[in-house]
Symmetry: D2
Subunit: 263 residues, 4 copies
C-alpha cells in the first residue's frame, strides 16, 4: 500500500520555523505570534487549563506560496482577468490561494549553487538559462510537475540583514531563466529567497519580471523563502513534493510547510 | 517511484476553507483576512502590481491541530512538564507545534455515524467505546499511526450556530472513548467538531477530558474541525494521511490542511 | 488662568471601557487586547520588567468618531470628492481622521429620553424633529459647536445583545432629525448607539441616511457608542466637550475618549 | 463660561500622526492600519457605501501614555503589588490604563534644549537635575500637575533611524533627573523620546531607572514620543494640558493625543 512505501522514506521539512523577527519582506505585514491565555489564567473545575495565542501575519511571511491573484500586469491577472473586478473586502473572487489544488507529485531539484561548485550563490547573482541547463543535466521534466531552484541562500537564514538582501540583493532567476522554467510547464516552482527573482544589489523589488512570467503569463505558482539546505545537501535530483497551503479564501498566498520525500 | 504511485491517486482535502465568519470557538481570536494592497495601489514602472493581505487569527481556527503545549492538567503539560516554566512572550519553549514532525502515514477511518446508519450523529451524542468497536470492525491499528473519528458533523459547516453548538452541543468521544483511542497508541487523532470532545447541550467547554487523556496523558496530537464529509462518503476504512502544520515556534497549535490519499 | 477655572470642574468620562467582547458592530473587526510580555518574561539586570500588549481592532469599536472618509454616496465623499481616487493601502489621502482638528468647545445636550419622561427610549424608536425641538427648549446653538442626542441607550451597555440591537433595533435620529441637526451647522454630533441612526427592528444597517446627511452632505463628524448615562443624569443642557481622537493617518475613524466638563 | 475662555485659545496638538513605518520601539508590536472595506465594495440600495479598517498595534506606539502596570521592579508593581497576581489573558486587574483619570490641568514646560541654547539636545545626552533647575527657573510646581521635559528630539521624527536611536541613543532624564521630577510629585510627566530615559549610545533599553522611579516608586504616569516641537517653539512655560487616553481595560498603556491649550 501507499503508506508502506512511505514508512521508511526520508521526509525533509522545506519550511523555516516561523517566529517574530524572522527575515521577511518589508512589503508585507510582519509575522507575530503572541500567547493570549497561558496555563493558569483560566483553570477548569477539574484542573485543566488551555493556552492559546493570537497570530498576526502577512500571507507572504516565512515559507509561503503565491496565489495567481498575487500579481497583475497592466491591470490583468492570469488569463486576462481584470484585477479590479475581482478584488474586494472579501479578497479575490478568482485565483485566490484556496483554488490551488494541493500538490503531491514529483519535483525536479536544480541545484545551481552545486552547479557552480559553491554552497551559496553570491548576493545579486542572476541565475541564467545556462545555469539551469547545467543543473538540469540528466533530469527529465513533465508538464504539471514541480521544479525547485537551489541557490543555497537559505544558509543565510539566521543572518537577517543578509537574507533580506536590502543592500546586497539576492540571487535568483532573471527573466530569461523564468522563461526557461515556464517553457517546461511546471505547476509550481520554488526557491529559497524572499522573492523568486534576481534582485541586484540596491535595486530592491523595483520590477519583478519572474512573477509576471510565471504567475501572470503562465499560471505557475511560486513557493518562496523555502528551506532547501537539507534537501540540497542530499544531492538528490528528484523527489516527491507535498504542498498543502492553507485554503484562505480569496488570499494572495499562504504560509505553507512543504515536504520533500526522498525516493 | 513514489510519485508514480500517487499520479492517479484520489486526494481528498480534509480542511474547510478559511474565511471571516466561519464557525470557530469563541474562546479563540477570530480568523480575519483583509486585503492590504490591491492591484493598482502601487504600480511598478513596468506595469506590474502586487496585492497582499493581513491575517489575524487564532491558531485554533478552521481546521487545525493542537500542540501538546495546548492543554495542561494541575499545572503540568505532557510528560509532567510544569507549564509555568515553559511559557513566555516567545510562546512555549517545549511542546510547541513546531516540534510536531509532519505526518505522512496510514490513517484508520472510524465512521461512527455510518455505524449508526445516519449521516450525522445528533448534537450532544457521546461516542462510546462500543461505537468505536463497531466502526473499527475489521480495521487494524498500529502504534504511531493516525485515527479519524467520523461523526458527520462537518455536514453542518454552513450552519454556523448549529456547528458551533453553543446551545445544542456537539457529538464526540467521551472520556471512555478517548481512553479507547489512547490505548491504540496513535500519533494523532482527528475529528470534525471544534473540540475533540463530547459536548452535551448547554455545557460548553466546561471540562475537556478528551484533551487531558490524549494531549496531556498520552502525548497524542488532535486535529479538530476537519472536513471529513467527502472522505466518509467514500466508505474507505484506511488511507494515507498527510499532516504538515505550519511550524509556528512555540505555538499551541496551527491551522493545517490535511490530505487523505486513497489507496 | 484657564487651569484654575478647571480645578474644581466636574469631568465626566463619555467613553465605555474597551474590552474583548464589548458590544460593537459586526461590520467591523472586533476589538481585542492581548498581553504579550508579562512581568517576569524578561527581567533586566536591575530587576526591572516591562509588560506590553498587542491590540487588534477596528477604528469603529467602542466609543469612536467617524471621519468624513467613512461614508460615500454614489461614489462621492464629502465635497464631491470621488472616493475611488482617494483610497489605497495607505488609507485615505483626504478626509482621514487625522484631519479632524481636536475639539474643545461647547456642546448642547439634547436629552430626548428625558423629554419623553423615560430613562431609555424603546428599541427601534425614531427620534424626530419634534423630539429634538422639545429636548432643545431653551438651548441655544452656534455653528461649529457640538450637539449630543441622548436616548439613554448606553444604559444597555452591559446587555450585549440588546445594545447591538441586531433583532430589536436601536433608537436614533431618522432622516428628518438628521436634517434638523445639520441645519444647526454643528461641527460634530454624538449619541449612544452603535450607529447614529434610527435602526428599526430587524432592518440592521440596510441604509444609513443619517450618515449620508451628516458626513457626506454636511461635513459633520459623528461620535458613536458614547457613554452618556452619567452626563444625562446631571440634567445639564450645555457643557464643555473635549474630543481628541487618535491621528491615525488615512483612517475612516478612531476610538476616542471624549470628556464633558461641567460648568 | 468655560467654553468662552477657550474660544480663541491656541490649541497645540502634542501627538504625531500614526502611520505604518513611523518610528517606534522594536520591543512592541508595530502599528499598522489597513483599509478593509473600500468604497464600492459593498454599496447599499440607496447608493451609500462605508469604508473601514483593521488596526494592529502595540499600546506603546506613537504618542502614548504608560499605565502603572507597565513596569515592575523585583516582581512588584507600584504600591508593592505582586505583578504575577494581577496579570492574565484579561490584562491587568489593577493599574491598567483604564484606571488613569483623564487629565485637564496645568502643565509646566521645562525646555532643556532651550536652556542649552540648542534646538535639539545631542543623542545620548543625559538631562541632569541642574538642567531641570535651569529650565524651571521662575516656574512654579504644584503636586498633582503635569511636567513636560523638552529635548527637541521630536524634530528628528521624520528621520526614523536617528529618532529610534538604536545606535546613537537618545537624550533624556537620568536617574537623578527622574528623582528631581518625582520630588515635585506631578501626576504625569512627558517627553519626546520613545523612552522617558537617558539612553546612551549603543546601550539600548538595558535598564530603565526613570521608569522604576516614576512608575513603580512614585505612581507617576509617563507620556512618551510626544510631538513637543510646536509647543517648545512658543516659549511658553505653562499651559493647560489635556490627556484623555483610550480606556483599554487592563492594558499597560494607550496611544493618546494630548493637547496643550495656551493661556
Amino acid at each position: 500500500m501507499l503508506w508502506d512505501s512511505l514508512r521508511d522514506a526520508r521526509v525533509i521539512d522545506l519550511a523555516h520555523p516561523m517566529r517574530r523577527g524572522m527575515p521577511q519582506s518589508p512589503n508585507h505585514p510582519p509575522f507575530r505570534m503572541t500567547l493570549e491565555r497561558r496555563h493558569g489564567d483560566v483553570v477548569r473545575a477539574d484542573g485543566g487549563s488551555a493556552a492559546n495565542e493570537i497570530i498576526v501575519t502577512g500571507a507572504h511571511a516565512g515559507t509561503h506560496i503565491d496565489a495567481l491573484a498575487h500579481v497583475s500586469h497592466d491591470g490583468l491577472l492570469h488569463g486576462g482577468r481584470p484585477a479590479a473586478d475581482l478584488q474586494s473586502h472579501d479578497g479575490f473572487r478568482e485565483l485566490g490561494i484556496e483554488t490551488f489544488t494541493p500538490y503531491l507529485g514529483r519535483v525536479a531539484v536544480l541545484d545551481v549553487a552545486a552547479a557552480h561548485g559553491v554552497e551559496v550563490l553570491p548576493a545579486g547573482y542572476e541565475v541564467t538559462p545556462a545555469d539551469l541547463d547545467k543543473a538540469a543535466a540528466g533530469v527529465s521534466f513533465s508538464p504539471g510537475e514541480a521544479i525547485l531552484v537551489g541557490t543555497g541562500w537559505s544558509r543565510h537564514w539566521e543572518d537577517r540583514d543578509v537574507f533580506i538582501g536590502l543592500t546586497g540583493g539576492a540571487p535568483g532567476p532573471g527573466a530569461d531563466a523564468a522563461r526557461w522554467l515556464a517553457a517546461h510547464r511546471p505547476r509550481l516552482v520554488g526557491a529559497e529567497t524572499i522573492a523568486f527573482e534576481h534582485i541586484p544589489a540596491g535595486r530592491g523589488h523595483a520590477v519583478l519580471p519572474g512573477h509576471r512570467i510565471l504567475l501572470v503569463e503562465s499560471g505557475i505558482h511560486i513557493i518562496e523563502t523555502m528551506r532547501l539546505t537539507e534537501l540540497l545537501d542530499t544531492g538528490v535530483r528528484e523527489a516527491l513534493l507535498v504542498v498543502s497551503p492553507l485554503p484562505i479564501a480569496g488570499a494572495t498566498g499562504s504560509p505553507v510547510r512543504p515536504l520533500a520525500v526522498l525516493p
